[in-house]
Structure formats: C-alpha cells, structure tokens
Amino acid sequence: MQVNVRHKGSITILDIEGKIIGPDALALKSIIDQQIQAFSSETEQGENLNLILNMERVQMMDSTGLGILVAAYTTIRRTEGRVVLLNLGGNIRSLIVMAKLMTIFDCYNTEAEAIGHFL
C-alpha cells in the first residue's frame, strides 16, 4: 500500500493505492493519526481537519482497514472535523454497505464534489 498526502487549502487529501490489509491497514492508521496531530498542533483553534480519503486505487480492504476508516471518522468528528470518501470501487462500496456504514460516510465520485462538501 502507498499513501500520498496532498493539501488543497484547508483540505487534506490522502491518495491511497494498493491493498489495505494486514500491517498496511495499521500503517494507514498511523498516517491518518499523524495528519490529525499535525493539524491540531499547527493550526489556530477553531479550525477543523477536513480529510478526503481518495480510494480510487484501492484494490481491496479488510475489516481492519474498515475499522480504521471508522476510527478516523469518530476521532475527526470529535474535533468537529469531517472525513469524506472519494472514488469508492465496487468491492469497497459493497464492503461499507454490508457493514451498514454507508450512512456515516459521505462519498463522492469526483475530487471537485468532495472538496465542495467542505465549502
């Protein structure tokens, strides 16, 4: 798995590539945690982390990976930030549907729409 971190204004975008399984799922968690930490130490109070997880190149995700998305959602929501998912492949989407988590995640098919969510 590879993760590229981009910033667009106040929005942080993680482009994730590969399979979010096994130890890589935990690696993704630490990358997300780093973003949360960096954000809270670098920014003024009152600003919130807006995170886009670009899943376009994710081939597969297991329950550990899904748990990490949920943990990211709950952690960031606590600080009044938001997480949105971008470009879910069919298998990732059906995994989220199966786990009845579609209602908690906002999902978009284009980056412009995902960015629009925060505006």
Binding site: G22, P23, D62, L95, K100
Partner: protein, 230 residues
C-alpha cells in the same frame, strides 16, 4: 544462526505442474522480505522452480494425489528451501476432494501478504466471477488475520494452517490456529447500532457474509468456509 528469528513457511501442493506458478508466487513474496538483491532473488526463484518441477515430475510423477511439500526457512541471514515429494499415501485420500493445497505460516501479521498472494493465485485458476473472487479473497484474509492475531496472539512459534480444498463444484478453505478458541455466539454483532462505530469486530461477520457456509469446529480453532461455483 539466530534460531529465534527463524520463520518456517510450509507449502504443500498436489503434484501437478499447474501448481508450480503458486510456488513461484510464494517464493517471490518471501524473497521481498530478504536483503538479497534482485539478481540473486531471480536466481533463487529459478532454482526453486527447478527443484519443484523435479519433485513434481520425477518424484511424484505428476500424481495429484501425492503432495509435494516445500519448506521455506527464513533466518536472519539465509533462506533454506527444502523440497519433499510424498511417497506415502496421501492423507486426504479418504475424502473426495480433488486437490488440496496447504499453507502453514508462523503467526506474524506480515504473512497476511503471503496468504493474499496464495489465495489470489489459487483463485486465478478457478472459474469464479471476479466479484466472487474478491469475496473469497476477503474472507480468507479475515480468517487468516483472525487465526494469527486473535487465535495465536501473533506468537511466531505458533502456526496458522490454511487448507484449500479444490473441488469441481466448490472451494473449501479450512483455517486452523493453535489458540484457545472462542464461542461464536459470544462475539458481538457488528451491525448492532451500539457496535456500528466500533473500530473492530467485523471479521467473522464479513467471512460469513462473503462465503456460502462458515462453520466453527474444535472450539473455534478450526474454521471451515465454503463457496459453491454455481
């Protein structure tokens, strides 16, 4: 020789040349964990294929009822590959299963990738639709993770053993760990609204959702999962 860091991975294949690709995939994946340079990796891979071909063609005379066993021992500074062709009667002969592939892994989470490689290769040669392949792959990863993490508590001296039983009408995956076991009924339902936002506890649910049948035996230390081809 660092005995404590020794990792023994065992792959048992039906003696049929069609399975050599599986050996190659496993060796390639294991070599990624080593410091051997690319050129050396390629040579080790080639030597392994030759040894495997030899065992399958000459040792077992391509009799798929006789397994060829590959033992890959990874220490801090060397990789040892042992090949054994089984002269004895296959222990699976009593069942009607056509072909049995067995992978035995030390319980370290990094071997989940090896399991993924094996499952992917096996599925590439079975006629399941792509969407079904993805479901089976996910269920196998969940079961392997479960055995390594929850069953064997990531103790590398304990084995997670995965058997793939290839039949004309179905694929059966049997996963065994050396842990204490568990009771399925006592595992919380991840779809229960109060568990929905928990960061773990979805593994068994996903296995059951992805496969046609999942049964728990020997106090949950053996999990048997079936997917039918129709």
């Amino acid at each position: 020789m660092g005995e404590r860091t020794e990792q023994v991975i065992t792959l048992s294949l039906p003696s049929s040349m069609q399975h050599v690709y599986l050996l190659r995939a496993v060796v390639t994946e294991i070599l990624k964990e080593t410091d051997f340079n690319e050129d050396t990796q390629e040579r080790i891979n080639l030597a392994t294929i030759e040894a495997g071909t030899n065992a399958i063609q000459h040792g077992d005379r391509e009799d798929p009822d006789k397994p060829t066993i590959f033992q890959l021992i990874l220490t801090e500074n060397e990789l040892i590959i042992n090949t054994a062709d089984e002269k004895a009667e296959s222990r699976h002969k009593e069942s009607e299963t056509e072909q049995v592939i067995t992978l035995s892994l030390p319980s370290s989470m990094r071997h989940v990738y090896l399991l993924d490689v094996v499952v992917t290769e096996i599925l590439n040669n079975l006629d399941f639709a792509e969407e079904i392949q993805e479901q089976i792959n996910l269920a196998a990863i969940e079961a392997g993770t479960n055995a390594i993490k929850h069953g064997n508590k990531e103790d590398p001296s304990k084995k997670a053993i995965m058997q793939f039983l290839l039949d004309e009408d179905k694929l059966t995956i049997v996963i065994e760990d050396e842990g204490e076991g568990f009771t399925r009924k006592e595992v919380a339902d991840p779809l229960d609204p109060e568990n929905l936002l928990k960061s773990s506890g979805r593994g068994l649910f996903l296995m059951e959702a992805c496969m046609d049948a999942v049964t728990y035996e020997a106090n949950g230390t053996i999990i048997k999962m079936v997917k039918y081809k129709t």
